[in-house]
Structure formats: structure tokens, C-alpha cells
């Protein structure tokens, strides 16, 4: 039997959140954390969490697993508990809880929206497509793979303190994805929009984002590139 402690909060019935302790029969298998949640939900249908693809692509089931943010669907119990005997599940930290493990991601998306996560190109559209050389395309590797699960931004203290002003690691990774794109012509405006004391410069490089990213991406490195671009364009 697996000991599970799960964060529960239903604003309609609970005065405040509490941790519910459960025992789950995993039949000795090294299940994914999401499988355990499915077993719990089969017993108690009020248990709430987000999920969709169950293979680390949609980014719906980001949560705090034994103190570290991750995707429940691709996190095996053995890795989550690291030899311990208890699985502790909490919602992503720093965002308002809607119910149980479901958080309100409005601020996260607002920051994403701010970086204009789409190609801007004012030149006339070519007949077929805007071509990139293999080298130019290569610059987007490690950037375009972000699935917006919010594991990184909600592991970042700067985002906890300033979720309305600091864009956060996820949004900044996306910002650099478009700054680095050879087909985008809005580099100057994009940089001007980021050059304030909060949007980029609240990053102090502690790299929580790097350590939790379930896709193995490096937002801190992308933020360093943005900083260098700002420095180059301003000096």
C-alpha cells in the first residue's frame, strides 16, 4: 500500500485547505503519479485535478510532487518519492487555488500574452513560405518545446512575489524563442518592451526553473541571452 497525502480544498464546503491522508493499492507497481491520482479519483470522485494527454505533451497536470514541481503523468513514483514511503501532492505554488490541485493560471497566461508569442513580420509575405537556414532553425531548439505547464514559473520566488510584473521563466523562454527567430522583424520593439526593472531583471539566476522543467529546458540560459541582447542594443 502506498501512503498518499493530498491537498484538498473545495471553497464551497471547506473553510480552509487541508491535507487528506490516504492509502492506495498500487499492486507493487512503479506507477506514474497521475495513475495514483486516477486510482484515488475512482474511490472519491470529488478529487479534482487537471489532466489530458497523460504523456507529458499537453502540460495540464503540473503539480507539486513531494516538494518539487513536475508533471504527474511522466513522474514515476520511484522518482517522486526517492526511497521515501509517502507521496505528497500539492497544487503548483504561488497561484490561487480553485479547487484541490487545480490552480487559477490567469496571471501565468497574462505574462505569456505580454511577450507577444507569435511571429511579427512586416515585410510582404513571400509566395510560399519564409525560409530559414538549418543554422537559423537550430537556434530555436530548446525554446520551442515549452508546453506551458507552469512548473518553472511557479517554482520561481521572483514570480511568487511579482506574478503581475515579472514575466517569469516560461514567458521569458517564449520571449527569447521569438527574439531568436530569423523570421521575426520586431526584435527592437520586443526588447524595448522588456527593458524595465521587473519584466526580465527580477530573474536572479537561482535556476529553480531549470531544475524542475519536465522537458529539460533551460529558461535561465534564455534569460541570459535576452539580457545580452538588451546590453548589446543599448551600449
Amino acid at each position: 500500500m502506498l501512503n498518499v497525502s493530498i491537498y484538498r480544498y473545495n471553497p464551497e464546503t471547506d473553510a480552509e485547505p487541508y491535507m487528506q491522508d490516504l492509502e492506495v493499492d498500487t499492486a507493487g507497481k512503479d506507477l506514474m503519479v497521475l495513475d495514483v491520482l486516477e486510482l484515488i479519483k475512482a474511490e472519491d470522485t470529488t478529487t479534482s485535478y487537471r489532466r489530458s494527454c497523460r504523456e507529458g505533451v499537453c502540460g495540464s497536470d503540473g503539480m507539486n510532487i513531494n516538494g518539487k514541481n513536475g508533471l504527474a503523468c511522466i513522474m514515476p513514483l520511484s522518482e517522486a518519492m526517492k526511497g521515501g514511503n509517502k507521496l505528497v501532492l500539492r497544487p503548483l505554488p504561488g497561484l490561487p487555488v480553485i479547487r484541490d490541485l487545480v490552480v487559477d493560471m490567469s496571471l501565468f497566461y497574462k505574462q505569456y500574452e505580454k511577450v507577444k508569442p507569435f511571429l511579427i513580420n512586416d515585410t510582404p509575405a513571400p509566395a510560399i513560405e519564409r525560409l530559414q537556414s538549418p543554422e537559423e532553425r537550430e537556434k530555436l531548439d530548446g525554446l520551442y518545446e515549452c508546453i506551458l505547464c507552469a512548473c518553472c514559473s511557479t517554482a520561481c520566488p521572483s514570480f511568487w512575489w511579482n506574478p503581475d510584473r515579472f514575466i517569469g521563466p516560461s514567458g521569458l523562454l517564449q520571449a527569447y524563442r521569438f527574439l531568436a527567430d530569423s523570421r521575426d522583424t520586431s526584435t527592437e520593439q520586443r526588447l524595448a518592451d522588456l527593458d524595465d526593472p521587473f519584466s526580465v531583471f527580477r530573474c536572479h539566476g537561482i535556476q529553480n526553473c531549470v531544475s524542475v522543467c519536465p522537458k529539460g529546458l533551460n529558461p535561465t540560459k534564455a534569460i541570459g541571452h535576452i539580457r545580452n541582447m538588451l546590453l548589446t542594443s543599448a551600449t
Partner: protein, 128 residues
């Protein structure tokens, strides 16, 4: 873009760059002072002679101004991280949270007064 009127420079980049440059000046000053203390063990007369040199006065003034600007940028960051409504509301309750702006401005004003005093005091010591 997020706007702010109380940060040190005009942009996030200038604050960031200023903190790095002042950090290097302070590191160099620390190395020089530590070197003098460890290698020469100066007595009062030697110590005074060192600080009578124009280059040492200038270097010390640069270090004092660096401390003031470095500390302002750092303390300003701390105040805008923690002395804000939602953080104080969670940590200390809604009554304190409602006073967040006042507390932040008071903290920033007190920091500015202390740092300005250090600069004036430092100049007085150097050229007094």
C-alpha cells in the same frame, strides 16, 4: 513594459549593469584594503599617509558611491518583492497588507536617508 519611478536608473538594464559595475569596484576595493592590512599591517601614521594619497581618496569615494548605489538597487528590489500588498496580506494579514504602499515608501525613504548619510559622512572623513 512595467513602469517604475523609484528604481535607480531609467531602465532594468541600467540598474542591472550598475549593480555589476559597482560590485566589481567593491571587490577591487576589498582586495586592496585586505591586501594592505594583511601584507603591510600599517600603523596609524602609515594608514593616514595612505588615505592622504589622492588616488586612495578617489578610490575610496568610488567605493562609497558604489556601496550607496549597489545597496539602493538591492534594497529597492527587496522592498518591491516583499513590501507589497499580496505578500504582506498572506504573511501578516489584510490590515498590514492594506498599508503595503506606505510601508514600502517608508522603507525606501529610510534606506535613502541612511545611504545618503553614509556618502556625506564618508566625504567628510576623507576630506575633513
Amino acid at each position: 513594459m512595467v513602469t517604475s519611478v523609484t528604481n535607480f536608473g531609467r531602465s532594468g538594464l541600467s540598474d542591472w549593469l550598475m549593480q555589476r559595475v559597482t560590485g566589481v569596484i567593491l571587490l577591487a576595493y576589498t582586495v586592496v584594503i585586505a591586501g594592505v592590512l594583511l601584507l603591510c599591517s600599517p600603523d596609524y601614521a602609515q594608514w593616514k599617509a595612505l588615505f592622504d594619497e589622492t588616488w586612495m581618496k578617489t578610490f575610496t569615494l568610488a567605493a562609497i558611491l558604489s556601496i550607496a548605489s549597489h545597496a539602493w538597487i538591492g534594497l529597492w528590489s527587496v522592498s518591491t518583492d516583499y513590501l507589497v500588498r499580496h505578500v504582506l496580506t498572506i504573511k501578516l494579514g489584510p490590515a498590514v497588507g492594506a498599508q503595503a504602499n506606505l510601508l514600502r515608501w517608508a522603507f525606501q525613504a529610510a534606506s535613502a536617508v541612511v545611504l545618503f548619510t553614509y556618502v556625506v559622512w564618508g566625504i567628510q572623513i576623507l576630506w575633513g
